[in-house]
């Protein structure tokens, strides 16, 4: 069907808008500029204090360390944990290129968060923090609205094969609470006010992170085949 003059111009303009829109979306999907941004480069180096803070995953000799401040009841944190973190763990942490440090940062107003963080910290006491973290985030929509989510968390602990008597005593005596509180205090010291907040080699990353961006950061700071430590690694311990 041949369109008349004015309509032909209109269809052409519509096509141009469509192509432009698709181009912008595709460009963001394959954003090549996802490396170290200027904002990040200009951020002050505020490394996490050495010590037993947080829960770590990966080799101490990894050239890049990312610190994540997260809240178990925060939907964006769950989104990252479910959709992005498995790839990060499998492809970067397991490959020895990245060390991950999770820091508890239960936000005020999230009523079930404190018990979720305590449960995860108690699993951490048995060396299963990251498994418990995954279980808690995966079922956030189940426990977040419950009055007493502790039974759910105990079920996750049982599912992971934890020593339940040890887990129960940890939860009842709140043995792991000081660790949660220490992480939170460290977050406050570093100016964390939302979750998830990431620090890459000691510098606060200005936006959210996903696997592609984290891979680009790791590639940028520590290229494969490059001399170890050749890249700028502020705040490295």
């Amino acid at each position: 069907m041949a369109a008349r003059g004015p309509l032909r111009n209109f269809y052409f303009a519509l096509g141009v808008i469509a192509v432009l829109g698709v181009f912008l979306i595709v460009r963001q999907v394959n954003d090549p500029g996802r490396s170290v941004s200027e904002t990040y480069r200009n951020a002050p180096v505020t490394p996490v204090r050495p010590g037993a803070l947080g829960h770590t995953l990966g080799s101490d000799s990894a050239p890049v360390e990312i610190v994540e401040f997260a809240d178990f009841e925060c939907p964006a944190c769950a989104h990252f944990a479910i959709l992005q973190f498995p790839y990060v763990r499998e492809r970067l942490v397991s490959a020895g290129r990245l060390k991950w440090r999770f820091m508890h940062f239960p936000l005020q107003g999230h009523t079930n968060s404190p018990s979720a963080h305590l449960a995860a910290a108690c699993a951490g006491e048995q060396g299963r923090f990251f498994e418990m973290k995954g279980a808690i985030f995966n079922r956030q929509n189940v426990w977040a609205s419950q009055r007493r989510p502790e039974r759910q968390f105990r079920g996750y602990a049982q599912g992971l094969g934890l020593d339940l008597s040890r887990y129960d005593s940890c939860v009842e005596t709140r043995r792991a609470q000081p660790q949660v509180d220490a992480d939170y205090a460290e977050g406050e010291r570093l100016g964390v006010n939302s979750t998830p907040t990431f620090f890459v080699n000691g510098r606060m990353w200005p936006t959210g992170l996903d696997y592609d961006r984290i891979r680009a950061i790791v590639d940028s700071l520590a290229p494969v085949g490059g001399p170890p430590g050749a890249a700028p690694a502020p705040g490295r311990r």
Partner: protein
Amino acid sequence: MAVAVLALVGTLVSVYLLLFKLGVLGSIACGQSGDCERVATSPWAVLFGVPVAAYGVAGYLALMGVALFGLGEGWLRRAEPTYWLVGLSGIGVLFSIYLTYLEAAVIHAWCRWCVTSAIVICLIFATSLAGVRGFRKAPAP
């Protein structure tokens, strides 16, 4: 014509949100607040097992289809497509009011892309209503 352009913009915004929801886009251009992520990953971003953004894509595509159909030979002077646009966009406006209420009162976070979509659907509704009034003032011979 204006409705087709607006519906195209709405489609692109919805596709963007849907790609984020499906995990194709790792992050969403939304400043540093994380509010878009908060809204898009909230339990209300899924309705009957389908991402809300998918309803947006379907709705805007339907609106664009009707708008383009109405520009076809023989339909340009007929009012039916405009009535269809009013009906469809009216449903969209009601749905957007519900979603905007959720952002304001329940999730307590504003997703600028969702607000953009709400504005677009309101503009489509207003434009379609103006079209209906135009038909009433100058009925087809």
